[in-house]
């Protein structure tokens, strides 16, 4: 298993190198950020000076080469518009996104799985059908529309919750987070629900389908025949066997929630990395875009690795071995 992990990490370096090259060339091809960044009053000479200051006058391969050299020293470049290290900007905003993703995933798991199991056990009941109909609504309505409706209903009409922004952060064990303050939670709950609705629907449908598949299996029938309580049948025999696909999907979705909460973060003015990346794309802030995508790719690699390891724990038949071996 150690060999497996090492090999996967080595592969990831290749993936990262390719990603950085693609993103670098891609952003370069879009255009010259100076034309958006520079004050319109600037003269041609000042424009040339700004291009030189940002190093954009050099050929693209030379820019890429110096990027790689800096990368080797752990420097992902400085943002054009913030004049701060790109990595620092991302790490500064990562906690906001992580807490949002964390709460959203908790909601989708702890609401989604029980509802999915219920719908699986009672496929023809009104409640079972209702859950399934709700899940269709959950993932077919556009994310931004759901977000705006949540704001309209809970912030504008009812006035229960704030319309956006990140609230006060409390401190617990040296960690500052919205999760440790009431005001923080009041700001967090709407965007978290917005982000969770789609995942929750996905989890419900996946869980139900698996439950339907597992229920007719012999071992479930046998467990029932043995006279086990239905509660034990569900938690031990059914749940454990449906978890593998659910864990795969949740793992990948966790990556998605962290990396691409762009719409939710924009609508709720949530100062996370999703909002950072979209703002950076608008002004072609290449160092931030490249650094962001490198981090995200790395994160997906790690998540996939963790999912693989988790498989082997959930299902003893899975062995983590070299594909070729």
């Amino acid at each position: 298993m150690t060999v497996f992990i090492i090999r996967r990490l080595l592969q990831s370096i290749v993936v990262l190198a390719v990603t950085s090259l693609l993103v670098f060339l891609g952003v370069y091809a879009i255009g010259n950020p100076v034309d958006i960044l520079i004050s319109p009053d600037a003269t041609e000479l000042e424009r040339q000076a700004a291009i030189a200051r940002l190093g954009l006058d050099r050929p693209v391969w030379e820019q890429y080469w110096s990027f790689l050299i800096n990368l080797a020293e752990g420097d992902l470049g400085r943002s054009f518009v913030f004049n701060e290290p790109a990595l620092k900007l991302i790490l500064q905003r990562l906690p906001a996104t992580l807490e949002l993703a964390f709460v959203a995933m908790l909601i989708s798991i702890f609401v989604g799985i029980p509802l999915g199991i219920w719908a699986g056990f009672h496929p023809n009941s009104v409640s079972g059908r209702g859950i399934m109909a709700g899940s269709i609504v959950g993932f077919s309505l556009p994310n931004f529309w759901q977000g705006l409706m949540l704001i309209m209903i809970f912030a504008v009409i009812l006035g229960w919750l704030p319309a956006g922004g990140r609230g006060d952060q409390g401190e617990f064990l040296g960690i500052r987070s919205s999760l440790f303050s009431l005001d923080g939670w009041s700001h967090l709950i709407l965007p978290a629900i917005n982000l969770a609705l789609f995942k929750m629907s996905l989890v419900i449908r996946l869980t139900r389908a698996n439950v339907r598949e597992v229920l007719p299996q012999d071992y479930v029938k046998f467990a029932r025949a043995k006279g086990l309580k239905s509660r034990r049948v569900v938690t031990v025999h059914v749940l454990k066997n449906i978890l593998i696909p659910v864990v795969t999907v949740i793992g990948l979705e966790l990556g998605n929630v962290i990396a691409f909460a762009v719409v939710t973060e924009t609508i709720f003015a949530w100062p996370g990395i999703g909002k950072l990346i979209i703002d950076s794309i608008f002004v072609l802030d290449r160092p931030v875009i490249v650094a962001y995508l490198m981090i995200i790719v790395f994160m997906f690699i790690v998540i996939n690795l963790l999912v693989d390891i988790l498989y082997s724990l959930l299902d003893p038949r899975v062995r983590l071995a070299d594909q070729r071996g």
Partner: protein
């Protein structure tokens, strides 16, 4: 000095500064864009400038109509053609209590063009100064390279920082608050990138304590979300109210709207230089010589555009049709220019006269995320041009792609007819005339954004004369004359002036600013 219009608005603005401690309270303002730094010299852009204006004063401050008001300088007079003497305000202290003197001015103006990694520096604003002489603590003399009447306008854009706190300070030191020590009406409490900027009233402000104890700026880039934040009471004031919501909000008793014309003209750059222009062809697709070289074709296009329809239909009435580069009332605009009349028959006649009785094919380009309703405006113009026989296709794109392509390379722009906007940062007519219409001359700093390649010797000569004239009346007349020449020549085609809308709680109002800034100083209590 030039003093113009808007005495009423200025009067109200001045009243804001009057101390009213009994009613003091905190307000939250939501902006459509985010400031990327509180270093006043890092990035010369409206998003940042509007924030740093709260913390730092300039020698000369710009009022709501961009009129020049005494700031840290109480007077500024030309001693001769190339020397200006500025008398500084005495008794002003920085937020840390240290006194403001001429030395801080020298430090600031030296730092402004020279901040490392600046994506757009303030070099332009201080480029004319060749020498700074400190006469005494409260008198400073600037020598310019040749007569330069715009020095006061230019210096109104450069904020003054303290040498004591700013010596050796980086942009990061300003962002952390350590070096963000100014003389302005507010002090910086906290800058959290992407989330908020918190300011507190400066009790010792030389212009009187501001009305608001604490001001929080929050960037909410999504239009509906920003509006929702106002409707739910999360924020007290918002900038950039989307035009499509304005008619509905006008009837809402929980919201007050404040509107004012901006210094931003929306116009079409038209390729009047190259022999063959990229996005024009005959209707069968074959290459033709650039039709825009013919004045009659340019006139025809201007006549074919129904500016009133753009304002009424596309902008829902929230804009002003334009026939020149700045709205009336600004320094250097011409009183002799009318908004061109919509005349499709006349346009067709002119096209026929110019040898295009059946028109030609054209692609018009524009951004889709930069100006109010930009994409719809381009589409409307395309339909109007098609109506007079010019088959017009539309190409719009995000600004991150658009502006690079509009500027193009050494061969000129990638477009032939393109929608752009121009806000006059200095608040007078020479800014657009020099940048958009003067013959390209990088050395002299002229024609920097002349994407159409317009060039007219007579125009250049009059503009150059204006730029040498330190006498205000004379300069205003020359600028107006230059504008008349360029507009008669259809060097570019103005369509309308943007009108900006701010929304607030009903008991607050916003004094609109022509520079489109959203400032806490302009938020006032409304008369109920």
């Amino acid at each position: 000095m030039s003093k113009r219009l808007g005495t009423l608005a200025v009067g109200i603005a001045a009243a804001t500064f009057a101390a009213m401690p009994a009613m003091a309270e905190d307000i939250t303002i939501a902006l459509a864009s985010e400031a990327t730094s509180v270093d006043p010299h890092f990035h010369n852009t409206g998003n940042n400038n509007q924030i740093v204006t709260h913390i730092f004063d300039a020698l000369i401050n710009q009022g709501s109509n961009q009129e020049l008001l005494p700031g840290l300088a109480v007077s500024w007079t030309p001693n001769d053609d190339t020397t200006w003497e500025f008398r500084l305000r005495e008794g002003v202290t920085f937020h840390d209590g240290s006194p403001f003197t001429a030395d801080d001015v020298v430090f600031s103006l030296e730092r402004a063009p020279d901040v490392p990694d600046s994506p757009s520096s303030f070099a332009v604003s201080v480029a004319s100064i060749t020498e700074m002489t400190v006469v005494d603590d409260y008198t400073i003399r600037f020598t310019t390279d040749g007569p330069y009447p715009l020095l006061p306008n230019d210096l109104s854009i450069v904020r003054i920082v303290s040498r004591e706190n700013g010596e050796g300070a980086t942009t990061a030191d300003y962002n952390s608050g350590e070096a963000a020590i100014g003389t302005g009406p507010f002090t910086l409490v906290e800058y959290v990138p992407g989330d908020r900027i918190v300011l507190a009233a400066n009790d010792d402000y030389w212009g009187g304590r501001p009305e608001w104890d604490q001001v929080t700026f929050r960037p909410i880039t999504s239009d509906p979300a920003r509006l929702a934040a106002l409707l739910s009471g999360d924020v007290d004031v918002i900038g950039n109210v989307p035009t499509q919501d304005i008619s509905q909000l006008a009837d809402n008793p929980d919201v007050r709207l404040s509107q004012g014309v901006s210094n931003r003209v929306i116009y079409l750059h038209i390729d009047s230089r190259r022999d063959v222009t990229p996005l024009v062809s005959a209707k069968d697709g074959s290459e033709i010589p650039n039709p825009f070289l013919d004045l009659r074709v340019r006139q025809a296009i201007s006549m074919a555009i129904d500016r009133n329809a753009i304002v009424e239909q596309v902008m829902e009435g929230i804009a002003i049709p334009a026939g020149q580069l700045l709205p009336e009332g600004f320094f250097g605009v011409s009183e002799n220019i009318d908004v061109p009349q919509y005349d499709p028959d006349g346009a067709q006649a002119l096209l026929a006269e110019a040898g295009y009785p059946d028109g030609f094919a054209l692609t018009i380009a524009g951004p889709n995320d930069r100006y109010i309703n930009d994409e719809q405006i381009v589409q409307a113009i395309a339909q109007m041009l098609s109506r007079v026989g010019i088959d017009t296709a539309v190409e719009t794109m995000p600004r991150s792609v658009y502006f690079g392509r509009a500027t193009g390379d050494e061969n000129g722009s990638e477009f032939s007819l393109m929608l752009v906007g121009w806000g006059s940062g200095t608040g007078e007519a020479s800014s657009p005339l020099r940048a958009l219409l003067a013959t390209k001359d990088p050395e002299a700093g002229l024609g920097g954004t002349n994407r159409g390649g317009y060039s007219n010797e007579e125009f250049d000569a009059i503009l150059a004369e204006a730029m040498r004239s330190v006498n205000d009346d004379e300069r205003a007349a020359l600028l107006a004359q230059a504008t008349e020449i360029a507009m008669a020549d259809v060097g570019l085609i103005p369509t309308h002036f943007q009108v900006n809308t701010w929304g607030s709680r009903p008991d607050l109002a916003y004094i609109p600013r022509t520079d489109e800034y959203t400032l806490a100083m302009n938020v006032v209590r409304a008369d109920q």
